[in-house]
Symmetry: C2
Subunit: 426 residues, 2 copies
């Protein structure tokens, strides 16, 4: 099994915080009053400690810290309701320009995550151009996290950084079920902004892109309008196929250490991880015409409760060996959960952080929608192995297509006074 | 002045309810615990009465009634955070089929607004196709309203309903600043679903479209990801140009009576209104490069506070006569608020219910975003008059283009046991 890594510095203490917050499960809809601050960062001033203390408190006050000694926020952070993901091509030519970009963005991300504008919304001199576009004023931080990733292109010849390339960072191999569109692939840098208000997430990406417009060109973007997987203490949400998604997602600290965080052997990337972004289009109108028995066989779970077909409750452990009278397994071997289960994949797990998206109506007049499938793993090959298997025989393939794809290295967080990936320029 | 109409039946009592709820202004972000139920409908069982009563309550419980004797919900209803708007072309040939469609949709909208699935998510017979697609399970009603409109096409020759055509229902005239795209215009029927959770709004539209797939084809849709105008008791939100929007919107009952609701002379449409939907694309990256003095002159307001340039506070009344030392008005005559103000338009007001939208990145690599501008008026010509004036000289035109447009008649609500526009088939 690939992936047993040591715990990154500063990663202690947050898991117990998570388990204390099991009471938070009523928060479906992102509307609970209270906070989950401190997970994936330091508890910041202004964050509220829990629900129920005041009916006036709300998630709009929730703040995560950008600076810290563990991983970047936005990976282990319990999924916020909304997400805007964007990748960029670098338009610069020197390592120094890249250095300035990362330093400038780091400072701006810290301000945004604190609920501050990145600069003046209304400068006093009338001939000055505002540095912040203003549409997030008064909305509060809303648990905003911005997570930065470095694509393989950062380590090509342009910047003389090939020696610093994270060991496992490479474009994904061609995978079955790929229906990739060139305009939805790749990127030298990624920004993932998640928040409990979509305009806060959108503002963050917009203003980060804008302040760097001399250095980067936007490449592709997906706006997620509802989280499709839960974190610890959250109720499992549903994807647009109507099924609960992420029931068996990673929640335990030991699994994060084994499958998500990079260990000390990763050098400057220790405490970081890899990010895989896939835009998965769903043919939901075809899915909607399928009968319930087939839908449940495709997933291997019941639709309403989300129980494995061998169980009664959502979190019952699937029994892949259990047979029907005719000798076939109760959970079909080609069902999604059978193919993806760690029991059937040498123990491999990946952290999924997906969001539902919609692009309106297709040129065929059908709903154009799907899943922004964000994956975090300390070994991208774990994803490729799973996807190769799923792509080959997953019954879900009839209803989905992977149209976008990119992979990035996510450097660890930095302490105040430093900037992301500073070690690259050491 | 066009538009003084009598109050529709059953419209009494809700305005005072609104003013009682001024304490709700901390709800930016849609995250307040509490309810605004009863506005634009009847207080439904399960709705909470106000914030502060329990830290566990949230907007996810908020319910509006579909049935009632006033206007449909979703017009005067304080804007929810999210909106999905879709128009449809009728594929049917007889009035009876239209009757069945409206009756079926009415029953389904009632269920959806009550937080119920429209049918079985997981039918017990495995060969049955689910009637509800399931992705809104567990999310709660989230203040969902679904508002149905009838386009001019309903009253063409197909259904022999020309005699019942609402007096002022007609396609809008060609207007300056129109950059309409054929695929974003028109429709025989519109559905506007607004809720405090986007997946609830999306689910409503998806399942209504799906259940009627033999009768209608989708035409165009916009998904609004953040309200851009306030209702009574709400803080004024911002559009994607970073300015507060809707400060001078209609809030008073007398203005609703004068400018929104149709009176008894409107026959079967009494208590109804007209809906105008415009998709307005914003060139936000060009806007973002403009200096603050010009941005404020374009709107006639300050950016941070949103005060008129002649005032200090957001709700100060603009003084359009006030002059600078050089004799020019302090609020430029070509500013948006000067051109749109009722003081400068024979007293005309329109109810605006806009939402910000984004379509990702344009083919030029720029942010593709703007405003879903929903207007309600008892005389569509009031909108055309204002837009003709704005389109001719509004300084905002440099930054926006109207790319989508449609107009609909919004019949009044019906009592339980009846369906929308039932009078058409009397």
């Amino acid at each position: 099994m690939a992936g047993r890594r040591e715990q990154a510095d500063g990663d202690s203490g947050t898991t117990s915080r998570l388990s204390r917050r099991g009471f938070f499960t009523g928060a479906a809809g992102g509307l609970a009053a209270g906070g989950l601050a401190g997970v994936g960062g330091t508890l910041a001033a202004g964050a509220v400690e829990g629900p129920g203390s005041s009916g006036q408190q709300s998630n709009s006050d929730l703040t995560y810290s950008f600076y810290g000694s563990g991983p970047q926020a936005g990976v282990r952070t319990p999924p916020q309701q909304y997400c805007v993901f964007m990748t960029f091509d670098l338009q610069i030519e020197t390592a120094r320009e890249l250095q300035v970009l990362l330093a400038t963005w780091s400072g701006a991300i810290d301000r945004l995550m604190s609920g501050k504008a990145i600069g003046s919304v209304e400068p006093s001199r009338s001939s000055a151009v505002p540095t912040d576009t203003g549409e997030a004023q008064e909305l509060g931080p809303n648990g905003l996290t911005v997570t930065l990733g470095l694509g393989p292109g950062v380590f090509d010849k342009r910047f003389d950084l090939a020696a610093m390339k994270p060991a496992l960072l490479a474009d994904l191999p061609s995978l079955p079920s790929d229906q990739l569109r060139a305009e939805l692939t790749g990127g030298d840098i990624s920004l993932q902004a998640c928040a409990d208000h979509p305009q806060v997430a959108y503002h963050a990406i917009r203003d980060l892109a804008r302040m760097a417009r001399e250095s980067v060109h936007t490449r592709w973007t997906v706006m997620g309008f509802g989280k499709a997987s839960a974190g610890a203490g959250q109720k499992t949400p549903r994807n647009l196929l109507g099924f609960k998604d992420g029931t068996r997602n990673i929640t335990e600290k030991s699994d994060y250490d084994d499958f998500v965080w990079l260990g000390k052997d990763a050098g400057w990337m220790a405490g970081g991880t890899y990010q895989i972004a896939r835009k998965i289009q769903m043919n939901i109108e075809i899915w909607d015409a399928d009968h319930i028995g087939d839908q449940q066989d495709v997933f291997g779970r019941t639709k309403h409760v989300g129980a494995p077909l061998t169980g009664k409750h959502e979190f019952d452990t699937p029994d892949f060996a259990k047979k029907k009278a005719d000798g076939d397994p109760v959970i079909p071997a080609t069902s999604h959960i059978a193919l993806a289960a760690h029991e059937n994949n040498d123990g491999i797990k990946i952290l999924r952080r997906p969001y539902n998206y919609t692009d309106g109506i297709s040129r065929f007049g059908q709903l154009d929608a799907g899943l922004l499938f964000m994956v975090y793993t300390n070994d991208p090959d774990n994803f490729s192995r799973l996807q190769r298997k799923l792509g080959a025989s997953d019954r879900l393939n009839e209803y989905i297509g992977h149209i976008g794809s990119a992979v990035f290295a996510v450097p660890p967080a930095v302490k105040s006074g430093h900037y992301l990936a500073e070690e690259l320029f050491g």
